[in-house]
Structure formats: structure tokens, C-alpha cells
């Protein structure tokens, strides 16, 4: 964005426009470009998601509207726009109408700190990672507000569950996010990506990536954490009273959030635009980022369509008794290892621009530590799974009959 903006700015000043005005207009154009990317992708994403879900379920998916069903989303959009816009009489009018806007805006805002290439980004905030956490939690707020303002029992119950789930999984999410911040020594997204020139952070700390992946799957409310739309018990959850485009906004926000998380994981753990020939052209860099983010996005869709929903007590126990302690242990061990390596001069003090050879000792040590922790995590999960299976296959529980003696 900077490149385009300065170019445009210079052009306008040269043709005799006021410098301040030129800067303002070029800023506006850049922002429109940045916001255009998520808005255009979300239309494509809904189609991709429906196609993938259909293929996994052995169906064909949308294929009637337009070539290979590509226009399906536009048709749905038009249909949603034509629906009656209902505000229930019992609802809090202001909060009820504001909630979808907050939900949608919070996801679009994340894209402000997402760098597309080394030179094209909305803004390179020094606190980029913190900004992402802060803005993403606005989505949680929107869900709470929507559930409360609807004045509906299903909506409120759904909102309670979802919010307790979202806030719980935010703790391991941020702890996992701390690892790239710690390794790069900066919260700026650009610095975090550049610090991976020697080695991707997913290799240095696979456990942090796994925790981040699981938590962001929970943050978007996707299976196995889809209490957000537990159809069988809560009808639709927090958005039950919403109709038309206000529902559509929650829907679009959720779909966009999944893809945004894919891109963020590519940036934080998979070296963003790093790849062969990325320095040749911004287009190649952008393609690398898109490809990595896209692959991660597809795995989340795959996961969503294969695993069953968990009960809320299982979800909570998994978070507080497994992910949180592990993520704390991970951050402690990574920081200790990094410090030891630096004291022994075995790791570069500045990861930005470090080569593969510089990173080799650090990679081996960190990978060993993280591998051990990851195996430990998988071991716990395996044991718990076995226990659960044994419990399920055991003889049904005999309930004591209520007798006259106990009845009084």
C-alpha cells in the first residue's frame, strides 16, 4: 500500500494538487484496496467452503448458478437483501442492530495489519500482534451483545456458551502467539515475517503452532468447537433472532475469520511470503502467502467437516487442564532455550535476515524441546481417547430404581 500511496501522492502533487489533500486521497485509496481484499475474498470463500463441504460429504455442491456455481453466493446475497428486516419487539433496538456491524467490522479490521507482500500492507503497527488479539476479541463482544439484546432464551444460552468458549481459548491463543513474538523480538507483523528468513517458526516451535491452530479453530466457532451453532439443542444459538442481511453479516464475518486465521498462521509460523523467488516480484510473494494461507484454510475446512461436536465440559477441560498449562510450559522452555543459546553465542541476536546456517543450532535445540512436548500432548490425547472409548464400550450404567423407601 505504501508504494501505491506514495506513487499516487507524488502524481497528484506533480499535477498541482494540495499536498495534504493528495496524502488524504492516497490514504483513502490504499485503505479501500486493503478493505477490498477481504470483502472480495469472502464471496469466493463461501463458495469454496460449500464446494469443499459438499465434496467431503460426497455431494456436488452448488453448480447451477453461473459457471460451476460461482454465482451462487451473489444469488444468496440478493436473496438475503430481499428478506424482511425484523427487530423483535422484546429486543434492545440499538444493541440488536449494532452487534452485526461490530462482528463484521472487527474481522475486516484485522486486515489492517496483514502484510500482503514485503512492500504492500495496510499499516505496519509496532504492536501488530497485539492489535490482532484486541480486534479479534471485538467479535466475542459482538456475540455477547447479540445474544443479550435479542432477549431470547436460546440466543442468550448460546451466547453464554460461545463467549465462555471464546474467552477460554483466547488464553492459549495469545500464549501461542507469544512464541513468534519472543523469537522475532517484535510485535510488528512485518518483523515477525522477516525474522523467519533463516527458519520458519513452525519448525522452531511446532507446539505453539498446534496450540494456535486449535485455539483459532475454537475462536472461529468451527467443529469440533461449534457450540456456536449447536442446532440440535439451541436451534441456532446467538443469531436466532436475526434475519436478512444482519444474519448475513454474522455469517460473512465467520467465514472471513476462518480465512483470516489461515493467513495469520501463514504469516506467524510459515514465513508468510518467504519462498523461492519471492524477492523477484511482489506478485510471487503474494502468491506464496496466498498458497500457504489457502492450504491452512483448507485443512481447517477438512477438520470442520470430519470431526463431531464436543460437549462443553470436554471443551473446557481440554482448554484449562491441557492447552493452558502446556502453552505456559512451552513459552517458559522456549525462552529459556533461546536465552541459553544466546549466552553461548549459538543463535543470532537478531533473527531478521539470519541465514539457514546461523539458525541451525537453535533449530535443533528448540525442535527437540518442542518435539518432546508435542509428543507428550499427543500421548495425553491418546490416553484420554482410549479411556473415553473404554467408557463408551463398557456395560451400560445400572440406575438404581426409585423405591418407596427412597421416595419419602
Amino acid at each position: 500500500m505504501d508504494e501505491i500511496c506514495t506513487g499516487l501522492c507524488r502524481l497528484m502533487v506533480d499535477s498541482g494538487a494540495d499536498a495534504g489533500l493528495a496524502q488524504f486521497v492516497s490514504l483513502l485509496v490504499g485503505v479501500l484496496l486493503v478493505s477490498g481484499v477481504p470483502l472480495l475474498t469472502v464471496i469466493l470463500l463461501i463458495w469454496i467452503e460449500r464446494k469443499v463441504a459438499a465434496r467431503i460429504q460426497d455431494r456436488i455442491g452448488p453448480n447451477r448458478v453461473g459457471p460451476i456455481g460461482l454465482m451462487q453466493t451473489f444469488a444468496d446475497l440478493l436473496k438475503l437483501l430481499g428478506k424482511e428486516d425484523i427487530t423483535p419487539t422484546a429486543a434492545d433496538r440499538l444493541l440488536y442492530n449494532v452487534a452485526p456491524l461490530v462482528s463484521f467490522a472487527s474481522v475486516v479490521l484485522i486486515w489492517a495489519v496483514v502484510p500482503f507482500t514485503p512492500f504492500h500492507y495496510g499499516v505496519d503497527l509496532e504492536i501488530g500482534a497485539l492489535f490482532f488479539v484486541a480486534v479479534a476479541s471485538f467479535g466475542t463482544l459482538a456475540i455477547m451483545v447479540a445474544g443479550w439484546a435479542s432477549n431470547n432464551k436460546y440466543a442468550l444460552l448460546g451466547a453464554f456458551r460461545v463467549v465462555s468458549l471464546l474467552v477460554s481459548y483466547e488464553v492459549p491463543l495469545v500464549f501461542a502467539l507469544l512464541v513468534p513474538v519472543l523469537l522475532a523480538g517484535s510485535m510488528s507483523m512485518l518483523d515477525i515475517v522477516n525474522a523467519q528468513s533463516g527458519m520458519w517458526f513452525v519448525v522452531l516451535s511446532p507446539l505453539a503452532f498446534i496450540i494456535f491452530y486449535i485455539s483459532s479453530q475454537a475462536e472461529t466457532g468451527r467443529a469440533p468447537f461449534d457450540l456456536i451453532e449447536a442446532e440440535s439443542e439451541l436451534v441456532a444459538g446467538f443469531n436466532i433472532e436475526y434475519s436478512g442481511m444482519k444474519f448475513g453479516m454474522f455469517f460473512a464475518a465467520e467465514f472471513l475469520h476462518v480465512f483470516t486465521n489461515g493467513i495469520l498462521m501463514a504469516l506467524l509460523f510459515f514465513g508468510g511470503w518467504m519462498g523461492p523467488l519471492y524477492y523477484e516480484s511482489p506478485l510471487i510473494a503474494f502468491a506464496w502467502l496466498g498458497a500457504k494461507g489457502g492450504i491452512i484454510y483448507l485443512t481447517t475446512l477438512w477438520l470442520r467437516n470430519t470431526v463431531p461436536r464436543l460437549r462443553i465440559d470436554q471443551i473446557m477441560a481440554f482448554n484449562w487442564k491441557c492447552l493452558v498449562p502446556l502453552s505456559i510450559a512451552n513459552i517458559v522452555l522456549v525462552s529459556l532455550a533461546l536465552k541459553v543459546l544466546q549466552e553461548l553465542d549459538m543463535a543470532p541476536r537478531q533473527l531478521i535476515g539470519a541465514s539457514f546456517a546461523d539458525m541451525l543450532p537453535a533449530t535443533i535445540l528448540l525442535l527437540l524441546i518442542n518435539g518432546a512436548l508435542t509428543l507428550y500432548l499427543l500421548g495425553i490425547l491418546r490416553r484420554r481417547g482410549k479411556d473415553a472409548r473404554r467408557e463408551a464400550q463398557a456395560a451400560p450404567v445400572q440406575f438404581a430404581r426409585a423405591t418407596a423407601a427412597t421416595a419419602d
Binding site: 437483501l81 424482511e84 428486516d85 423483535p88 422484546a90 431470547n152 477460554s168 442481511m245 484449562w320 544466546q342
Partner: protein, 119 residues
């Protein structure tokens, strides 16, 4: 770091909110407006709604919120330390180790007391 860095962020905020507002209002203009009593009562699976929905909430949700706040504050203390760990040296690491130890003791206490159970 200047306040100007947030210029594009606030511009993006304005644009996304404006866009969402426009979409929501197109829906209001394009869609029919035929409100009836049945349509605008809270949905309760076709039954007549019984009482207000915003009533007392189970204590366990409150407990989760309290747990979250404790850990969230902990994370906030971690973030600036993570950025400047290189410059803080062994001293910074020791201080953070003590901080983490205190929190882990609290976490274990909480676990043993059953604060993490979802009954």
C-alpha cells in the same frame, strides 16, 4: 511510533462500519416491511414466550470470565517482556520466572480446589 500510524486503521474502521451500515440499510429498503405480532415475539419453538429471557445466569459462566481475566492480565505482562527479552538479559528471565512460578502456584491451587471443573 506516532498516533499517525493509526490513521489507516481508523480509516479502515470508518469504511468497514459505513459499508456494513449501507448493506444493512439496503436490506431495510429492498425487503418487505410487514411486521405482525407473531413475527416480532421472541422465538421459542412456536410456543408463547414465558417470561423475560435476561434472567440470572449460571455461576459457572461467571467463573470462566474471572479465570479469563486473571490469565489475560498475565498475558499482557508477558507481551512487552517477550519483545525485549534479548535486551533484558538473565535478570529479565529470572524476574519472569518468579512471576510465572507465582502464577503456576495459583493455577495449581485453583485446579485442586475444583475451580476448573464444569459440573
Amino acid at each position: 511510533m506516532t498516533i499517525l500510524e493509526f490513521g489507516p486503521v481508523s480509516a479502515l474502521l470508518v469504511i468497514s462500519v459505513a459499508l456494513a451500515l449501507i448493506i444493512a440499510n439496503i436490506s431495510r429498503v429492498m425487503g418487505p416491511q410487514r411486521p405482525t405480532y407473531r413475527k416480532s415475539v421472541p422465538y421459542e419453538s412456536g410456543m408463547k414466550p414465558i417470561g423475560p429471557a435476561t434472567r440470572r445466569l449460571p455461576i459457572k459462566f461467571y467463573l470462566v470470565a474471572v479465570l479469563f481475566i486473571i490469565f489475560d492480565i498475565e498475558v499482557i505482562f508477558f507481551l512487552p517482556w517477550a519483545v525485549s527479552m534479548r535486551d533484558l538479559g538473565v535478570y529479565g528471565l529470572t524476574v519472569m520466572a518468579v512471576f510465572t512460578l507465582i502464577l503456576i502456584v495459583g493455577f495449581i491451587y485453583e485446579w485442586k480446589k475444583g475451580g476448573l471443573e464444569w459440573e
